[in-house]
Protein backbone atom coordinates (compact mmCIF):
# COMPACT_ATOMS: atom_id res chain seq x y z
CA UNK A 1 0.00 0.00 0.00
CA UNK A 2 1.32 3.42 -0.90
CA UNK A 3 0.99 5.97 1.81
CA UNK A 4 0.27 9.47 0.60
CA UNK A 5 0.96 12.23 3.02
CA UNK A 6 -1.92 14.63 3.28
CA UNK A 7 0.11 17.78 3.41
CA UNK A 8 2.00 17.01 0.18
CA UNK A 9 -1.27 16.94 -1.66
CA UNK A 10 -2.15 20.35 -0.37
CA UNK A 11 1.00 21.90 -1.75
CA UNK A 12 0.13 21.61 -5.39
CA UNK A 13 -3.19 23.24 -4.74
CA UNK A 14 -3.84 25.73 -7.45
CA UNK A 15 -3.81 29.45 -6.75
CA UNK A 16 -7.38 30.66 -6.69
CA UNK A 17 -7.48 34.40 -7.11
CA UNK A 18 -9.88 36.60 -5.24
CA UNK A 19 -11.46 39.05 -7.60
CA UNK A 20 -13.94 41.76 -6.80
CA UNK A 21 -16.26 42.84 -9.59
CA UNK A 22 -18.39 45.97 -9.36
CA UNK A 23 -21.46 45.72 -11.61
CA UNK A 24 -23.90 48.50 -12.30
CA UNK A 25 -27.49 47.57 -11.67
CA UNK A 26 -28.93 48.33 -15.09
CA UNK A 27 -26.60 46.74 -17.60
CA UNK A 28 -23.66 44.81 -16.28
CA UNK A 29 -25.51 43.11 -13.48
CA UNK A 30 -28.18 42.05 -15.93
CA UNK A 31 -25.37 40.88 -18.20
CA UNK A 32 -23.94 38.80 -15.39
CA UNK A 33 -27.40 37.47 -14.72
CA UNK A 34 -27.80 36.50 -18.35
CA UNK A 35 -24.46 34.72 -18.25
CA UNK A 36 -25.80 32.68 -15.36
CA UNK A 37 -29.20 32.01 -16.89
CA UNK A 38 -27.69 30.93 -20.19
CA UNK A 39 -25.25 28.70 -18.32
CA UNK A 40 -22.05 30.12 -19.71
CA UNK A 41 -19.14 28.71 -17.77
CA UNK A 42 -16.82 31.07 -15.96
CA UNK A 43 -14.43 30.64 -13.04
CA UNK A 44 -15.86 31.01 -9.58
CA UNK A 45 -13.15 33.47 -8.63
CA UNK A 46 -15.25 36.61 -8.57
CA UNK A 47 -17.44 38.26 -5.99
CA UNK A 48 -19.93 40.61 -7.53
CA UNK A 49 -20.83 43.84 -5.79
CA UNK A 50 -23.89 45.44 -7.26
CA UNK A 51 -24.00 49.22 -7.38
CA UNK A 52 -26.66 51.42 -8.89
CA UNK A 53 -24.31 52.92 -11.43
CA UNK A 54 -20.63 52.55 -12.23
CA UNK A 55 -20.39 56.20 -11.23
CA UNK A 56 -20.91 55.05 -7.67
CA UNK A 57 -17.59 53.23 -7.60
CA UNK A 58 -15.04 55.36 -5.83
CA UNK A 59 -11.39 54.94 -6.75
CA UNK A 60 -10.92 54.53 -3.01
CA UNK A 61 -12.90 51.27 -3.22
CA UNK A 62 -10.31 49.88 -5.61
CA UNK A 63 -7.47 50.90 -3.35
CA UNK A 64 -9.25 49.49 -0.34
CA UNK A 65 -9.53 46.14 -2.11
CA UNK A 66 -5.84 46.11 -2.91
CA UNK A 67 -5.02 47.10 0.61
CA UNK A 68 -6.97 44.10 1.84
CA UNK A 69 -5.05 41.81 -0.51
CA UNK A 70 -7.72 41.29 -3.16
CA UNK A 71 -5.85 40.01 -6.22
CA UNK A 72 -7.81 41.80 -8.90
CA UNK A 73 -10.59 44.34 -9.31
CA UNK A 74 -13.04 44.70 -12.18
CA UNK A 75 -15.39 47.62 -12.70
CA UNK A 76 -18.17 47.18 -15.23
CA UNK A 77 -20.86 49.54 -16.41
CA UNK A 78 -23.19 50.28 -19.30
CA UNK A 79 -21.73 51.22 -22.66
CA UNK A 80 -21.05 54.91 -23.11
CA UNK A 81 -24.33 56.58 -23.95
CA UNK A 82 -26.41 53.83 -22.33
CA UNK A 83 -26.00 54.82 -18.69
CA UNK A 84 -29.31 54.79 -16.86
CA UNK A 85 -28.29 58.09 -15.27
CA UNK A 86 -27.22 59.60 -18.59
CA UNK A 87 -23.56 60.34 -17.95
CA UNK A 88 -22.49 58.31 -14.93
CA UNK A 89 -20.18 56.11 -16.93
CA UNK A 90 -18.46 59.02 -18.65
CA UNK A 91 -17.60 60.28 -15.24
CA UNK A 92 -16.35 56.82 -14.30
CA UNK A 93 -14.17 56.64 -17.37
CA UNK A 94 -12.54 59.95 -16.61
CA UNK A 95 -11.84 59.18 -12.99
CA UNK A 96 -10.43 55.72 -13.64
CA UNK A 97 -8.13 57.06 -16.30
CA UNK A 98 -6.68 59.21 -13.57
CA UNK A 99 -6.51 56.28 -11.20
CA UNK A 100 -4.65 54.15 -13.76
CA UNK A 101 -1.73 56.58 -13.60
CA UNK A 102 -1.50 55.96 -9.89
CA UNK A 103 -1.91 52.20 -10.23
CA UNK A 104 0.91 52.20 -12.76
CA UNK A 105 3.09 53.92 -10.24
CA UNK A 106 2.29 51.20 -7.71
CA UNK A 107 2.78 48.45 -10.29
CA UNK A 108 -0.82 47.32 -9.97
CA UNK A 109 -2.29 48.43 -13.27
CA UNK A 110 -2.59 44.85 -14.60
CA UNK A 111 -4.77 43.90 -11.70
CA UNK A 112 -7.47 46.38 -12.52
CA UNK A 113 -9.79 46.64 -15.49
CA UNK A 114 -12.72 48.81 -16.52
CA UNK A 115 -15.14 47.28 -19.05
CA UNK A 116 -18.52 48.14 -20.53
CA UNK A 117 -21.04 45.30 -20.59
CA UNK A 118 -24.63 45.61 -21.67
CA UNK A 119 -27.59 43.56 -20.46
CA UNK A 120 -27.47 41.35 -23.55
CA UNK A 121 -23.77 40.55 -23.34
CA UNK A 122 -23.84 37.52 -21.07
CA UNK A 123 -21.27 35.81 -23.21
CA UNK A 124 -18.93 38.77 -23.10
CA UNK A 125 -19.22 38.86 -19.33
CA UNK A 126 -18.27 35.19 -19.02
CA UNK A 127 -15.33 35.68 -21.35
CA UNK A 128 -14.17 38.75 -19.48
CA UNK A 129 -14.14 36.88 -16.20
CA UNK A 130 -12.25 33.98 -17.74
CA UNK A 131 -9.55 36.09 -19.35
CA UNK A 132 -9.17 38.34 -16.34
CA UNK A 133 -8.91 35.39 -13.97
CA UNK A 134 -6.22 33.84 -16.16
CA UNK A 135 -4.37 37.11 -16.24
CA UNK A 136 -4.42 37.35 -12.45
CA UNK A 137 -3.38 33.72 -12.12
CA UNK A 138 -0.32 34.51 -14.19
CA UNK A 139 0.51 37.47 -11.98
CA UNK A 140 0.18 35.40 -8.83
CA UNK A 141 -1.25 36.41 -5.48
CA UNK A 142 -0.91 40.06 -4.49
CA UNK A 143 0.53 39.47 -1.07
CA UNK A 144 3.65 37.72 -2.30
CA UNK A 145 4.57 38.95 -5.73
Amino acid sequence: MKIVEKSSKKQDMEFKPNIVCFCCNWCSYAGADLAGVSRFQYPASIRIIRVMCSGRVEPAFILKSFKDNIDGVLVTGCHIGDCHYISGNEFTKDRFERLTIILKFLGLEDRFRLEWISASEGKKFAELITTFTNQIKKLGPLNNI
Binding site: E58, L63, K67, R98, I102, K104, L106, G107
Partner: protein, 391 residues
Protein backbone atom coordinates in the same frame (compact mmCIF):
# COMPACT_ATOMS: atom_id res chain seq x y z
CA UNK B 1 -4.85 51.33 31.12
CA UNK B 2 -3.37 52.06 27.74
CA UNK B 3 -1.25 55.14 28.19
CA UNK B 4 2.09 54.25 29.73
CA UNK B 5 5.71 55.35 29.98
CA UNK B 6 6.72 58.75 28.74
CA UNK B 7 3.19 59.72 27.83
CA UNK B 8 1.95 58.86 31.29
CA UNK B 9 4.63 61.14 32.63
CA UNK B 10 3.34 63.94 30.44
CA UNK B 11 -0.07 63.44 31.89
CA UNK B 12 1.19 63.52 35.44
CA UNK B 13 3.02 66.74 34.70
CA UNK B 14 -0.18 68.57 33.93
CA UNK B 15 -1.00 71.44 36.32
CA UNK B 16 -4.58 71.71 35.12
CA UNK B 17 -3.98 75.36 34.42
CA UNK B 18 -6.14 75.10 31.28
CA UNK B 19 -3.88 77.27 29.19
CA UNK B 20 -4.17 74.63 26.50
CA UNK B 21 -7.95 74.75 26.45
CA UNK B 22 -7.77 78.49 26.06
CA UNK B 23 -5.48 78.38 23.07
CA UNK B 24 -6.82 75.20 21.45
CA UNK B 25 -7.55 75.88 17.79
CA UNK B 26 -10.26 73.26 17.71
CA UNK B 27 -11.79 75.05 20.70
CA UNK B 28 -12.47 78.05 18.48
CA UNK B 29 -15.07 76.13 16.54
CA UNK B 30 -16.38 73.42 18.82
CA UNK B 31 -16.17 72.43 22.44
CA UNK B 32 -12.70 71.05 22.83
CA UNK B 33 -10.74 71.18 26.04
CA UNK B 34 -7.48 69.26 26.18
CA UNK B 35 -6.99 70.01 29.87
CA UNK B 36 -10.32 68.41 30.64
CA UNK B 37 -9.45 65.36 28.55
CA UNK B 38 -6.17 65.02 30.42
CA UNK B 39 -7.97 65.27 33.73
CA UNK B 40 -10.41 62.55 32.74
CA UNK B 41 -7.58 60.28 31.67
CA UNK B 42 -5.79 60.82 34.97
CA UNK B 43 -8.96 60.11 36.85
CA UNK B 44 -9.15 56.78 35.10
CA UNK B 45 -11.76 57.41 32.42
CA UNK B 46 -9.32 56.58 29.70
CA UNK B 47 -11.58 54.00 28.11
CA UNK B 48 -14.40 56.47 27.89
CA UNK B 49 -12.19 58.99 26.15
CA UNK B 50 -11.00 56.36 23.70
CA UNK B 51 -14.49 55.10 23.03
CA UNK B 52 -16.02 58.52 22.53
CA UNK B 53 -13.71 59.06 19.55
CA UNK B 54 -13.16 62.68 20.51
CA UNK B 55 -9.43 62.38 20.03
CA UNK B 56 -9.96 62.12 16.28
CA UNK B 57 -11.02 65.76 16.37
CA UNK B 58 -7.69 67.13 17.58
CA UNK B 59 -5.89 68.95 14.79
CA UNK B 60 -2.51 67.94 16.22
CA UNK B 61 -1.52 71.54 15.67
CA UNK B 62 0.65 71.69 18.80
CA UNK B 63 -0.64 75.11 19.83
CA UNK B 64 -1.32 73.65 23.24
CA UNK B 65 2.27 72.49 23.68
CA UNK B 66 3.42 75.97 22.75
CA UNK B 67 1.52 77.53 25.63
CA UNK B 68 1.79 74.75 28.19
CA UNK B 69 3.99 75.76 31.14
CA UNK B 70 5.03 72.18 31.76
CA UNK B 71 5.54 70.90 28.24
CA UNK B 72 2.72 68.42 28.16
CA UNK B 73 2.82 67.11 24.62
CA UNK B 74 -0.86 66.56 24.04
CA UNK B 75 -0.51 65.85 20.34
CA UNK B 76 1.78 62.94 21.09
CA UNK B 77 -0.69 61.54 23.59
CA UNK B 78 -3.35 61.82 20.90
CA UNK B 79 -1.13 60.05 18.40
CA UNK B 80 -0.61 57.14 20.71
CA UNK B 81 -4.24 56.97 21.73
CA UNK B 82 -5.31 56.92 18.09
CA UNK B 83 -3.38 53.74 17.65
CA UNK B 84 -5.41 52.21 20.45
CA UNK B 85 -8.61 53.60 19.01
CA UNK B 86 -7.96 51.85 15.72
CA UNK B 87 -7.43 48.60 17.58
CA UNK B 88 -10.71 49.15 19.35
CA UNK B 89 -12.44 49.70 16.02
CA UNK B 90 -13.19 53.36 16.50
CA UNK B 91 -12.59 54.69 13.03
CA UNK B 92 -12.00 58.24 11.94
CA UNK B 93 -13.63 60.04 9.09
CA UNK B 94 -10.90 60.51 6.54
CA UNK B 95 -11.19 63.15 3.86
CA UNK B 96 -11.23 62.26 0.16
CA UNK B 97 -12.79 58.91 1.08
CA UNK B 98 -9.46 57.85 2.50
CA UNK B 99 -7.89 57.77 -0.94
CA UNK B 100 -4.49 59.13 0.01
CA UNK B 101 -4.29 57.20 3.24
CA UNK B 102 -5.07 54.00 1.36
CA UNK B 103 -2.31 54.81 -1.10
CA UNK B 104 0.19 55.11 1.71
CA UNK B 105 -1.07 51.91 3.25
CA UNK B 106 -0.73 49.99 -0.01
CA UNK B 107 2.75 51.40 -0.40
CA UNK B 108 3.67 50.21 3.05
CA UNK B 109 3.42 46.59 1.89
CA UNK B 110 6.89 45.22 1.45
CA UNK B 111 6.16 43.55 -1.86
CA UNK B 112 5.01 46.73 -3.55
CA UNK B 113 7.79 48.71 -5.11
CA UNK B 114 6.66 51.94 -6.65
CA UNK B 115 8.06 53.09 -9.96
CA UNK B 116 8.18 56.83 -10.22
CA UNK B 117 8.29 58.41 -13.61
CA UNK B 118 10.28 61.53 -14.17
CA UNK B 119 8.62 63.11 -17.17
CA UNK B 120 7.85 66.14 -15.03
CA UNK B 121 11.54 66.89 -14.49
CA UNK B 122 12.19 70.21 -16.22
CA UNK B 123 14.53 70.05 -19.20
CA UNK B 124 18.04 71.12 -18.34
CA UNK B 125 17.97 69.56 -14.90
CA UNK B 126 20.49 66.83 -14.41
CA UNK B 127 19.25 63.99 -12.25
CA UNK B 128 20.84 60.72 -11.25
CA UNK B 129 20.28 57.73 -9.00
CA UNK B 130 23.35 58.16 -6.88
CA UNK B 131 25.04 61.23 -5.58
CA UNK B 132 25.41 63.65 -2.73
CA UNK B 133 22.28 65.71 -2.71
CA UNK B 134 18.92 64.03 -2.72
CA UNK B 135 15.62 65.74 -3.33
CA UNK B 136 12.79 64.00 -1.49
CA UNK B 137 9.82 64.68 -3.73
CA UNK B 138 7.17 63.17 -1.49
CA UNK B 139 3.54 62.78 -2.45
CA UNK B 140 3.28 65.62 -4.96
CA UNK B 141 3.07 63.33 -8.03
CA UNK B 142 0.26 61.43 -6.34
CA UNK B 143 -1.69 64.55 -5.47
CA UNK B 144 -1.75 65.21 -9.17
CA UNK B 145 -4.65 62.79 -9.26
CA UNK B 146 -6.99 65.47 -7.98
CA UNK B 147 -5.08 68.70 -7.62
CA UNK B 148 -3.79 69.89 -10.93
CA UNK B 149 -1.26 72.36 -9.63
CA UNK B 150 0.35 70.08 -7.10
CA UNK B 151 3.41 69.37 -9.22
CA UNK B 152 4.45 73.03 -9.51
CA UNK B 153 6.04 72.91 -6.14
CA UNK B 154 8.24 69.91 -6.99
CA UNK B 155 9.16 71.25 -10.40
CA UNK B 156 10.20 74.64 -9.05
CA UNK B 157 12.13 73.19 -6.14
CA UNK B 158 14.06 70.98 -8.50
CA UNK B 159 14.75 73.96 -10.75
CA UNK B 160 16.13 75.88 -7.79
CA UNK B 161 18.31 72.99 -6.69
CA UNK B 162 19.66 72.44 -10.20
CA UNK B 163 20.43 76.11 -10.56
CA UNK B 164 22.45 76.24 -7.35
CA UNK B 165 24.19 72.88 -7.41
CA UNK B 166 26.65 71.86 -10.07
CA UNK B 167 26.21 68.15 -9.54
CA UNK B 168 23.17 66.15 -10.59
CA UNK B 169 20.39 65.90 -8.03
CA UNK B 170 19.36 62.47 -6.83
CA UNK B 171 15.74 61.49 -7.34
CA UNK B 172 14.70 58.10 -6.05
CA UNK B 173 12.70 55.90 -8.36
CA UNK B 174 11.31 53.74 -5.60
CA UNK B 175 10.78 56.46 -3.01
CA UNK B 176 7.73 55.73 -0.91
CA UNK B 177 5.49 58.06 1.03
CA UNK B 178 7.27 59.43 4.12
CA UNK B 179 4.43 58.10 6.25
CA UNK B 180 3.52 61.32 8.03
CA UNK B 181 -0.22 60.88 7.64
CA UNK B 182 -0.19 57.28 8.76
CA UNK B 183 1.88 58.14 11.79
CA UNK B 184 -0.51 60.85 12.95
CA UNK B 185 -3.50 58.67 12.22
CA UNK B 186 -2.04 56.15 14.62
CA UNK B 187 -1.08 53.56 12.02
CA UNK B 188 2.34 53.13 13.46
CA UNK B 189 3.15 49.69 12.06
CA UNK B 190 2.56 50.79 8.49
CA UNK B 191 4.56 53.93 9.16
CA UNK B 192 7.56 51.93 10.30
CA UNK B 193 7.50 49.79 7.18
CA UNK B 194 7.50 52.88 4.97
CA UNK B 195 10.31 54.40 6.96
CA UNK B 196 12.48 51.29 6.73
CA UNK B 197 12.02 51.17 2.98
CA UNK B 198 12.92 54.82 2.58
CA UNK B 199 15.92 54.66 4.86
CA UNK B 200 17.30 51.75 2.85
CA UNK B 201 16.72 53.66 -0.36
CA UNK B 202 18.51 56.72 1.04
CA UNK B 203 21.46 54.57 2.00
CA UNK B 204 21.63 52.97 -1.42
CA UNK B 205 21.80 56.34 -3.10
CA UNK B 206 24.78 57.37 -0.99
CA UNK B 207 23.30 60.82 -0.36
CA UNK B 208 24.74 62.94 2.41
CA UNK B 209 22.07 65.62 2.29
CA UNK B 210 18.34 65.27 1.80
CA UNK B 211 16.43 68.36 0.76
CA UNK B 212 12.68 68.49 0.84
CA UNK B 213 10.16 71.19 0.11
CA UNK B 214 7.37 69.70 2.21
CA UNK B 215 6.86 70.74 5.81
CA UNK B 216 5.36 67.41 6.85
CA UNK B 217 8.01 65.41 5.07
CA UNK B 218 10.69 67.50 6.71
CA UNK B 219 9.39 67.04 10.21
CA UNK B 220 9.00 63.29 9.62
CA UNK B 221 12.45 62.76 8.17
CA UNK B 222 14.14 65.10 10.56
CA UNK B 223 12.52 64.17 13.86
CA UNK B 224 10.43 61.03 13.62
CA UNK B 225 12.77 58.81 11.61
CA UNK B 226 15.82 59.36 13.85
CA UNK B 227 13.72 58.98 16.97
CA UNK B 228 12.58 55.54 15.84
CA UNK B 229 15.61 54.26 13.95
CA UNK B 230 19.11 54.47 15.32
CA UNK B 231 21.03 54.17 12.11
CA UNK B 232 19.39 56.98 10.25
CA UNK B 233 21.66 59.95 10.44
CA UNK B 234 21.61 61.64 7.06
CA UNK B 235 21.37 65.42 7.19
CA UNK B 236 17.88 66.62 6.28
CA UNK B 237 17.09 70.18 5.25
CA UNK B 238 13.95 71.97 4.28
CA UNK B 239 14.22 74.21 1.27
CA UNK B 240 13.94 77.17 3.66
CA UNK B 241 17.01 76.14 5.64
CA UNK B 242 18.88 75.25 2.50
CA UNK B 243 18.26 78.64 0.90
CA UNK B 244 18.97 80.47 4.12
CA UNK B 245 22.40 78.88 4.31
CA UNK B 246 23.13 79.60 0.69
CA UNK B 247 22.16 83.24 1.22
CA UNK B 248 24.37 83.49 4.27
CA UNK B 249 27.26 81.87 2.42
CA UNK B 250 26.81 84.44 -0.31
CA UNK B 251 26.24 81.79 -2.92
CA UNK B 252 22.93 83.17 -4.16
CA UNK B 253 21.10 86.45 -4.25
CA UNK B 254 17.71 87.64 -5.35
CA UNK B 255 17.45 89.67 -8.49
CA UNK B 256 15.06 92.43 -9.35
CA UNK B 257 12.40 91.51 -11.79
CA UNK B 258 12.54 93.98 -14.62
CA UNK B 259 8.93 94.10 -15.56
CA UNK B 260 7.87 94.34 -11.98
CA UNK B 261 5.31 97.05 -12.41
CA UNK B 262 3.10 96.07 -9.52
CA UNK B 263 4.64 95.66 -6.12
CA UNK B 264 3.88 92.22 -4.74
CA UNK B 265 2.63 92.19 -1.20
CA UNK B 266 3.57 88.97 0.55
CA UNK B 267 2.63 87.30 3.75
CA UNK B 268 3.70 83.97 5.16
CA UNK B 269 1.64 81.22 6.72
CA UNK B 270 3.71 79.16 9.18
CA UNK B 271 2.62 75.54 8.75
CA UNK B 272 2.44 73.75 12.10
CA UNK B 273 4.91 71.09 10.98
CA UNK B 274 7.46 73.72 10.14
CA UNK B 275 7.02 75.80 13.24
CA UNK B 276 5.58 74.46 16.45
CA UNK B 277 6.59 70.91 15.62
CA UNK B 278 10.29 71.69 15.58
CA UNK B 279 12.56 72.36 18.54
CA UNK B 280 13.09 76.05 19.25
CA UNK B 281 16.80 75.65 18.54
CA UNK B 282 16.08 75.20 14.83
CA UNK B 283 15.24 78.87 14.70
CA UNK B 284 13.12 78.26 11.65
CA UNK B 285 10.95 81.36 12.17
CA UNK B 286 13.90 83.65 11.80
CA UNK B 287 15.36 81.76 8.86
CA UNK B 288 12.26 82.11 6.77
CA UNK B 289 11.90 85.75 7.75
CA UNK B 290 15.47 86.39 6.75
CA UNK B 291 14.56 85.18 3.27
CA UNK B 292 11.67 87.62 3.18
CA UNK B 293 13.91 90.41 4.39
CA UNK B 294 16.19 89.76 1.46
CA UNK B 295 13.18 89.78 -0.82
CA UNK B 296 12.15 93.16 0.52
CA UNK B 297 15.47 94.51 -0.68
CA UNK B 298 14.53 93.68 -4.26
CA UNK B 299 11.19 95.37 -4.14
CA UNK B 300 8.71 93.04 -2.52
CA UNK B 301 6.66 94.05 0.46
CA UNK B 302 6.35 91.65 3.35
CA UNK B 303 3.63 91.95 5.97
CA UNK B 304 3.07 89.77 9.00
CA UNK B 305 -0.39 88.42 9.70
CA UNK B 306 -2.03 89.03 13.07
CA UNK B 307 -1.31 85.48 14.15
CA UNK B 308 2.20 84.59 13.14
CA UNK B 309 5.18 82.49 14.08
CA UNK B 310 4.35 80.13 16.91
CA UNK B 311 0.90 81.66 17.17
CA UNK B 312 -0.02 80.99 13.61
CA UNK B 313 -3.48 79.66 12.93
CA UNK B 314 -4.11 76.22 11.57
CA UNK B 315 -5.22 75.55 8.00
CA UNK B 316 -7.86 73.32 9.51
CA UNK B 317 -6.90 69.79 8.58
CA UNK B 318 -3.98 67.56 9.36
CA UNK B 319 -3.26 64.07 8.05
CA UNK B 320 -6.50 64.11 6.02
CA UNK B 321 -8.71 63.86 9.08
CA UNK B 322 -12.04 65.57 9.48
CA UNK B 323 -12.30 68.02 6.66
CA UNK B 324 -15.66 69.45 7.60
CA UNK B 325 -17.31 72.83 7.50
CA UNK B 326 -15.71 73.47 10.86
CA UNK B 327 -12.28 72.96 9.38
CA UNK B 328 -13.27 75.27 6.59
CA UNK B 329 -14.24 77.92 9.10
CA UNK B 330 -10.72 77.83 10.51
CA UNK B 331 -9.28 78.10 7.06
CA UNK B 332 -11.57 80.94 6.16
CA UNK B 333 -10.46 82.86 9.19
CA UNK B 334 -6.81 82.35 8.27
CA UNK B 335 -7.35 83.51 4.73
CA UNK B 336 -9.19 86.63 5.81
CA UNK B 337 -6.23 87.48 8.00
CA UNK B 338 -3.96 87.06 5.04
CA UNK B 339 -6.20 89.14 2.84
CA UNK B 340 -6.00 92.02 5.26
CA UNK B 341 -2.28 92.41 4.86
CA UNK B 342 -1.26 91.04 1.48
CA UNK B 343 -2.24 89.72 -1.88
CA UNK B 344 0.08 86.73 -1.97
CA UNK B 345 -0.12 84.06 0.67
CA UNK B 346 3.14 82.12 0.81
CA UNK B 347 3.44 78.80 2.55
CA UNK B 348 5.91 75.94 2.69
CA UNK B 349 3.51 73.06 3.15
CA UNK B 350 1.88 71.56 0.05
CA UNK B 351 -1.10 70.44 2.10
CA UNK B 352 -1.79 73.90 3.48
CA UNK B 353 -1.65 75.11 -0.08
CA UNK B 354 -4.15 72.50 -1.24
CA UNK B 355 -6.48 73.33 1.62
CA UNK B 356 -6.42 77.05 0.98
CA UNK B 357 -6.94 76.59 -2.73
CA UNK B 358 -9.84 74.27 -2.08
CA UNK B 359 -11.58 76.92 -0.02
CA UNK B 360 -11.08 79.43 -2.79
CA UNK B 361 -13.12 77.17 -5.08
CA UNK B 362 -16.21 77.63 -3.03
CA UNK B 363 -15.84 80.93 -1.23
CA UNK B 364 -15.74 84.06 -3.29
CA UNK B 365 -14.55 86.42 -0.61
CA UNK B 366 -11.13 84.81 -0.46
CA UNK B 367 -10.63 84.27 -4.16
CA UNK B 368 -8.55 87.34 -4.82
CA UNK B 369 -5.58 86.23 -2.76
CA UNK B 370 -2.94 84.21 -4.53
CA UNK B 371 -1.82 81.10 -2.66
CA UNK B 372 1.63 79.93 -3.65
CA UNK B 373 4.48 77.86 -2.38
CA UNK B 374 7.77 79.46 -1.47
CA UNK B 375 9.52 77.61 -4.30
CA UNK B 376 7.10 79.04 -6.89
CA UNK B 377 7.88 82.51 -5.69
CA UNK B 378 11.64 82.13 -5.56
CA UNK B 379 12.25 80.13 -8.70
CA UNK B 380 12.35 83.27 -10.85
CA UNK B 381 14.21 85.56 -8.49
CA UNK B 382 17.15 83.42 -7.43
CA UNK B 383 20.43 84.27 -9.03
CA UNK B 384 23.59 82.31 -8.44
CA UNK B 385 26.67 84.32 -7.59
CA UNK B 386 29.58 82.85 -9.54
CA UNK B 387 32.18 81.47 -7.15
CA UNK B 388 35.08 83.58 -8.51
CA UNK B 389 33.35 86.73 -7.44
CA UNK B 390 33.45 85.41 -3.91
CA UNK B 391 37.20 85.50 -3.61
Amino acid sequence: MVIKGKLREYLNNCYQCAMCSGICQMGRIQKYTPSRIIQLIIEGFEDRIVESGMLWDCLTCNSCLEKCPHEVNFAEIVRDARNKMLDAGIMPKIAHKGFYTLLSEIMSKENITPEKTFEWVPSGCKISEEGNILYFVGCAPLFNYEFDESMNNAVDTLKILCKIENEPIVLLKDEKCCGHDLLWQGKIEAFKKLAIHNIKAFERSGASLIVTSCAEGYRTLKIDYPSMFENFNVEVKHLVEYLYEKLKENKIKFKKEKKNTKILKLTYHDPCRLSRFLPKSFNIYEKIRYIFKELEKVGYVYNEMVHNKSNSLCCGVSCWLNCTDKAKALRYHRMLEAKDVADNLITTCPKCEIHFRCLQNDTETVQDINVIDLSNLLENVIEVIPSKQNK
